[in-house]
Amino acid sequence: MTTDKAGRVHSRGDAQAHVAAAHAGKTHSPLKRITLYSLRHPWQAGLAIGATVVASVLQLLIPRLLGHAVDQAQGILSTGSEGAQQALFWSAMTLLGVSVARGFFTLVQNYYSESVGHHVGYELRLAFYDKVQRLSYSYHDKVHTGDLITIGLLDLDGLRMFFSTGFVRTILLSVLIGVGAFMLLTTDVLLGCLALSFVPFVAWRSSVAQLKLRGTWLVLQKKLSALTRVMEENLGGIRVVRAFSGQDFELAKFDAASKEALDLSHDRVHIRVRNTSMMTFSFFTAMGLVLWFGGNKVIAGEMSVGTLASFLTFMTILQMPVRQLGLMVNSFARAATCGERFYAFLDQPLAIADAPGVAELKVTDGTLRLEDVHFTYPGANHPTLDGVTFEARAGQTIGIVGAPGSGKSTLAHLIPRFYDVSSGRITIDGQDVSAVSLQSLRRSVAVVQQDSFLFTTTIENNIAYGDPWSKETKIEKAAESAQLHNYIMGLPAGYDTVVGERGVSLSGGQRQRLSIARSLVLKPAVMVFDDSTAAIDAGTEHRIRSAMRRYASDRVTLIISHRLSSLMHADVILFLDGGKIVERGTHEQLLANGGRYRALYDLQTRPSDDIEIGSAAQ
């Protein structure tokens, strides 16, 4: 990937300013908020609105001019004068001029209202992305990724398009229908009423249809994603399906999900068909009435043919926009509901954020200290950590062991402040982690997680994820320490191999080694292994440990594991139970104590004594 030229960054405006503006106006309704936000582009919005008014007025002139021309042509028949033909020529030129102008203004209207929408979309995306990255673990724990993606894609789209499909279209329709009705009614009240008679009906039907379609669309999306899930899980779990001869069962599942979606699609076709056909019918009925009554007026000499023709062309011009009334209503409804969800997301308070003017963490000795740390998950009744105190100096390795649910992983997440402690404090070199900037803290504390996310990019970029400026040698060294280098070199594309969801898939152990390498690149002052060697075999783990020992002299290492062989070499081992440290000491001391640690050790080294499998045991 090549770098951008410095100049380009400025041409798009200040990204952070866009983000800040998106957060403004919390007290407004979503519709007002998105309207004000769209008007942050005053030039483009102004052009769009101005052009809309001009274009719609010009469009209304066309039937007038045509009617006029028809009358002139008919006038030629009776008078046959040279002057009339001259007048006809000028009418034609005016007509041409108005058409060209209307085309131009419509271009301006459409382009600038779309442009405002695209700009708003760009800016809201930045605000959304920024927010996702800032929200803490506790938020992401309780919200589904799928729901977030929906907010960021569909809800954002609903808001983005409001300016063109809702706001500008309202102006367009108001002018067209309002001015058009005025022109028709002032010309002839009866005929005007007849010509406009289809408008309320079509407006009503198209609104109802659009709202219904939107309602069923939302349901259809759910049904379709259920269908997608059936297919995806079937293909992903094809071995299970085959192992249990579940093909017919799976086809039945597919058919059930498919039928639900198909039925709903048919319903949607019905709604659409019923309404379009009825709208067209009502329009033509009104036209027939205008033809009959208008025709009689012409015969009676109360009206010219040209006026009648202009009424009829008026109707054809109004027909399309009136049908779009439904889209406009839908746009309002959509922007209101989407806006509610989107802004609710954006307005979330940040549970964990830098205080203004916060200091940078300064690592000197590299001493990590936990003082009487308590932690309770939001909504939980019992504390997960219940008064944990220990100290670790640079060069020390602390092992933490305990049953599932004893609070081991939670402890790992508190140090880089993914969650805030409920009480007590965590300090690094005497500085409370909640009193230093998140950036400086997280650069000093690396947590190697149990299930680390692989980004779909090259292995090299994945290892350099925390420090994308790092040099090749540094990346390779980290991979060597993590015992991954040889494997990588064996791949045809080496470090350029693309991994992740859309690339080569790595085994659990390889992924864990990659995430170890990722953390090693950072050279953190505190390194926490959160059960991150579970899928790595003991021999490889041993080699990783010896490779890392070279770097470990100025670093605190925390190893959380349920496999005792991973942490029995630690300087201090803490045995956690119910959020409390119940045993503390070296491997030998704890074995000698004969307590919980000893029991676990016995369990792991002689797992087979009381279990025999196979018929031999019977």
Binding site: A73, F104, M231, P404, T456, D554
Partner: protein, 632 residues
């Protein structure tokens, strides 16, 4: 800080510079689709799907024709109404006739539009679902070697994206029949009404054609670019959400925000370009309409003066001009839709044509429950690619009720042997016999019912715990399911989950621990109640508490069954009735634990290394222990 060399994090040397080793989002480049718009072979294949609905298609094509004709008739009637009813000599009776015929046409128009739209819409939906089902059903039959090689995402895009573009094509193609008729009709009507005026007015039409021919290729590229950058931006966003924990963990927010900004901004620009291309047609069409109208007014006016044209014809012309350019616009768009549909159609038929290499013989017998439950490998040779056998002449027998542990280093062929029992693949030579029958002579369905399988990675489906344990054994009662869960020791943790057996597993059970998922997959195998159990023990380390539970569950599972276990844990291996040691696709040792220890071969050497699992032994030590590889 000291010790080994220390580099600080470097940063940008000038503002706006991006780090060299960073990117956000990933994107599979979709092929640009500018291929053939008509491919007879693909069309034939697609037609096979439409065939069942052909009556409806004929009906809707007829409706489209009627609909188009009514549309053509309306301006004519209006023109006639003016000429015979309203100009000099016109009478109210004539007008009445005109209005009545107008009403008739409108009613016909209503009926035709109803029929056309509902039939076309429903047929397109039906064909779409039929195609998807055909592909899905085919994927249930194709060989596993195809599935091994093909990414799920690729298949999904065929099941969805390609099928959708076929639907779009079907919906629009009937309508474009109407457009063509409309275009043709307008030309004929205008020329008939007045040849000279018609010809003059129509002269604007080729201009639009030419403009669109020049406009289309760059516009298509612009629309494609807009589509691409949009999905790239969306992909980057999804990645940011899915990987948010790692992003925060490694403090990448700032860099990612900048990179995302680049993508979003690039998207903004392509969207604006796309808009420009779309909108530039508006003034062109409007100007051409204006020119046509001016021609009608000026030329028509002078023809009226000559007395060779009636005023109503001018009105009719004006009406036609309003509709003039619509069919050209949609017909040129239809071309791109057809190109896309041909490519999609080809991709769909590719999936449909994947051979299903493993089929039941016509005279295949049903493997019944009263078979003895033995498994025999007779001189089995098998490989995934020709010339590279994974199993070389392997022969062994597992007696009914016996538990055999398959042991050996990675790549020794354990997993392949296991897959062959279930006939996931076909042997190259030799035979695999289950209950005395060659697996090729029995139906796959009955084989699956008698051979239960537990895979190393437990796979759960979204749905309730109950449904996951029962899976396709519809006859299993709730009681049986609970009994199975109790037997494998999963009952307690299931009851602790709110909702118990009816609680829904999110995202394939990601809310459960690996050990818990393992236990559920055991329960599933227990409910399946097959005579033979093939099991691949999990290698991942599970916490000691759950581990014990799993060992106990294994015991329950193997009770009264023939068992073939790919064993990793020493406890499992020692407990087996017999151990088969595989290496490089050959069986090198067999016997129970004590016999093998006495033999002092590879097994004994590995065992004496005192690792808690064979998989923990580093490769170099395995090589040392093995006399064959050590000597070469």
């Amino acid at each position: 800080m000291s010790a080994v060399e220390e580099e600080d994090r470097e940063t940008a040397s000038f503002p706006g510079q991006r780090p060299p080793r960073a990117s956000v989002g990933s994107h599979r480049i979709e092929e640009e689709i500018f291929g053939k718009a008509y491919d007879p072979r693909t069309v034939r294949r697609i037609w096979a799907f439409v065939q069942p609905y052909r009556l409806k298609i004929y009906l809707s094509v007829a409706a489209v024709l009627v609909f188009t004709i009514t549309q053509l008739a309306i301006p004519l009637i209006i023109g006639r109404a003016i000429d015979i009813g309203m100009t000099e000599g016109g009478t109210a009776t004539n007008l009445l006739w005109a209005v009545v015929s107008f009403a008739v046409v409108v009613v016909v128009n209503f009926a035709a539009s109803w029929v056309q739209e509902s039939e076309v819409g429903q047929v397109a939906e039906n064909v779409l679902f039929d195609m998807r089902r055909a592909m899905f059903a085919q994927l249930q039959r194709v060989s596993l070697s195809f599935m091994d090689k093909t990414e799920v995402g690729r298949l999904m895009s065929r099941l969805q994206g390609d099928v959708n573009s076929m639907q779009e094509f079907l919906e629009t193609s009937v309508i474009s029949v109407g457009d063509m008729v409309l275009l043709f009709g307008i030309v004929v009507v205008l020329l008939t009404l007045d040849f000279r005026l018609g010809l003059l007015t129509l002269s604007t039409m080729p201009i639009l054609f030419i403009v669109r021919i020049f406009w289309l290729p760059p516009a298509k590229r612009a629309f494609w670019a807009a589509h691409e950058t949009n999905s790239i931006t969306a992909g980057a966003m999804a990645e940011g959400i899915n990987g948010v924990r790692t992003v925060q963990n490694l403090d990448r927010q700032k860099v990612n925000f900048e990179l995302y900004d680049d993508k979003a901004f690039n998207n903004l620009q392509t969207q604006l370009t796309g808009s420009r291309f779309a909108q530039v047609m508006v003034p062109i069409v409007d100007s051409l309409t204006g020119i046509a109208m001016a021609i009608v007014v000026v030329v028509g006016g002078s023809l009226v003066l000559n007395g060779s044209l009636e005023i109503g014809v001018i009105v009719a012309f004006i009406f036609y001009i309003q509709r003039f350019f619509d069919p050209i616009r949609s017909l040129t768009m239809q071309y791109s839709i057809m190109q896309r549909a041909m490519t999609s159609g080809r991709r769909i038929t590719e999936v449909l044509d994947v051979p299903s290499s493993i089929n039941d013989k016509p005279d295949a017998v049903t493997l019944t429950r009263d078979m003895d439950g033995s498994v025999e490998f007779r001189d089995v040779v098998f490989g995934y690619s020709p010339g590279r056998p994974v199993l070389k002449n392997v022969s062994f027998t597992v007696k009914p009720g016996e538990t055999v542990a398959l042991v050996g280093p990675t790549g020794s062929g354990k997993t392949s042997a296991m897959s062959l029992v279930h006939r996931f693949y076909e042997v190259d030579s030799g035979a695999v016999l289950v209950g005395g029958h060659d697996v090729r002579d029995v139906t796959q369905q009955s084989l699956g019912e008698q051979v239960a399988m537990v895979l190393q990675e437990p796979f759960l489906f979204t749905g309730s715990i109950f449904d996951n344990i029962r899976y396709n054994k519809a006859s299993a009662t709730r009681e049986q399911v609970i009994n199975a869960a109790v037997a494998v020791g999963a009952h307690d943790f299931i009851m602790r989950i709110p909702g118990g057996y009816d609680s829904i597993l999110e995202q394939r059970g990601s809310n459960l621990s690996l050990g818990q998922r393992q236990l559920l997959s055991f329960a599933r195998a227990l409910v399946a109640d097959a005579k033979i159990l093939v099991l691949d023990e999990a290698t991942a380390n599970i916490d000691s508490y759950t581990e014990r539970q799993i060992q106990k569950a294994l015991l329950t599972l193997l009770e009264g069954r023939t068992g073939m276990v790919i064993a990793h844990r020493l406890a499992t291996i020692r407990g087996a009735d017999r151990i088969i040691v595989l290496q490089n696709g050959e069986m090198i040792e067999t016997g129970n634990h004590d016999e093998l220890m006495e033999k002092n071969g590879l097994y004994a050497k590995l065992y004496n290394m005192n690792y808690s699992s064979f998989d923990d032994i580093p490769d170099d030590l395995v090589a040392q222990a093995n006399p064959r590889t050590a000597s070469t």
